[in-house]
């Protein structure tokens, strides 16, 4: 299961997530959504599911799947 599910139609390209991610797992994607904003992409390998991106995102783009402890 992917750690991050993105609702990119909501993204407005503020890039709070890129600045906040402690692992540098988020970057600009080079593609735009319907609103015309250049949206982000997530490197699922680098991601540690800490949900910092969820916390700082003003547009509810991120759904974070945290693995259960011991799983």
């Amino acid at each position: 299961m992917e750690k991050i599910v993105l609702q990119l139609q909501r993204c407005k390209g503020c890039y709070n997530c890129i600045r906040a991610c402690p692992k540098g797992a988020i970057s600009k994607s080079g593609t735009s959504n319907k609103k015309g904003y250049e949206v982000i992409q997530v490197d699922q390998e680098k991601c540690i599911a800490c949900a910092t991106c969820y916390t700082v995102c003003p547009d509810y783009v991120f759904e974070v799947c945290k693995p259960e402890k011991g799983a």
């Binding site: 609702q7 139609q9 909501r10 407005k12 390209g13 503020c14 890039y15 709070n16 600045r19 906040a20 904003y37 949900a51 910092t52 969820y54 916390t55 700082v56 995102c57 003003p58 547009d59 509810y60 991120f62 759904e63 974070v64 799947c65 945290k66 259960e68």
Partner: protein, 241 residues
């Protein structure tokens, strides 16, 4: 475990705030607190006009859009009619501290059992970024193009400091500038609502928010501006309760 914004605020493809605006975060934090405390069905939220009224498009709760500056007065009336239900007034600093300062202070004086959440971005947002009572000394706005001065703009108004001497149940200020401060804001909102549900009286939270559009800043620069320039003037923390 899946962490995602409450469904009551994500049933559309988003709100119409500018990129990087703190309102989006505040909307989510209030939604999370209501979900945590199982108050989503009962809550009634009184909203302001302008940017402070735009959450009405996103919140699937019972909401009332009050006249400009009057969400606190409206919330007091709603609370009188429905004393057992949680009532929140959500408004910006222009409304709460300028046009609606009478309601903000007199409701605190009466210790009305409501929760007031003010989003302070130090400008009048929707009307074009004019100087507000909370604009900092030297702050460049569309109505203080050479920087706010004591002579032309008066002092910077710190309403949290004014409320510190009042007999209210809860008083806090948080900043929506990074993950740590946003998590604190979330905790404060839950506490304020718990105080109201316990019948303890007036709870007040100020959220310092970026307004990248009217500050003419990139959202990253706006967050740094809060940390470096606004926080020394408006300290955060819990002051009562």
């Amino acid at each position: 475990m899946v962490i995602k914004a409450p469904e009551r605020i994500t049933y559309t493809d988003g709100h119409s705030f500018c990129p990087g605006c703190g309102h989006g975060i505040a909307i989510r934090l209030i939604g999370e607190a209501l979900q945590e405390l199982a108050l989503e069905e009962q809550v009634i939220i009184s909203l302001d006009v302008a940017c402070g009224g735009m959450p009405i498009d996103v919140w699937r709760y019972d909401t009332i859009e009050a006249a400009h500056g009057r969400p606190v007065a409206t919330a007091v009336g709603v609370k009188m009619a429905r004393p057992s239900q949680p009532v929140i007034a959500y408004l910006g600093d222009g409304a709460a501290y300028s046009i609606g300062i009478a309601e903000t202070l007199h409701s605190a004086r009466r210790n009305d059992n409501i929760t007031v959440i003010v989003l302070n971005n130090c400008v009048f947002g929707m009307t074009g970024g004019q100087m507000s009572p909370t604009s900092l000394q030297g702050q460049v706005t569309s109505s203080s193009i050479h920087g706010k001065s004591m002579k032309e703009g008066g002092a910077t108004m710190d309403v949290v400091r004014m409320l510190k001497d009042m007999d209210i149940s809860y008083l806090a200020r948080a900043a929506l500038c990074d993950a740590g401060n946003i998590k604190k804001a979330r905790k404060y909102i839950s506490k304020a609502l718990e105080k109201q549900m316990n019948g303890e009286g007036y709870s007040f939270i100020e959220l310092l928010s970026p307004c990248p559009t009217n500050w003419n800043m990139d959202p990253g620069v706006a967050a740094a501006y809060i940390k470096e320039t606004i926080l020394p003037v408006f300290p955060t923390g819990e002051f009562i309760g």
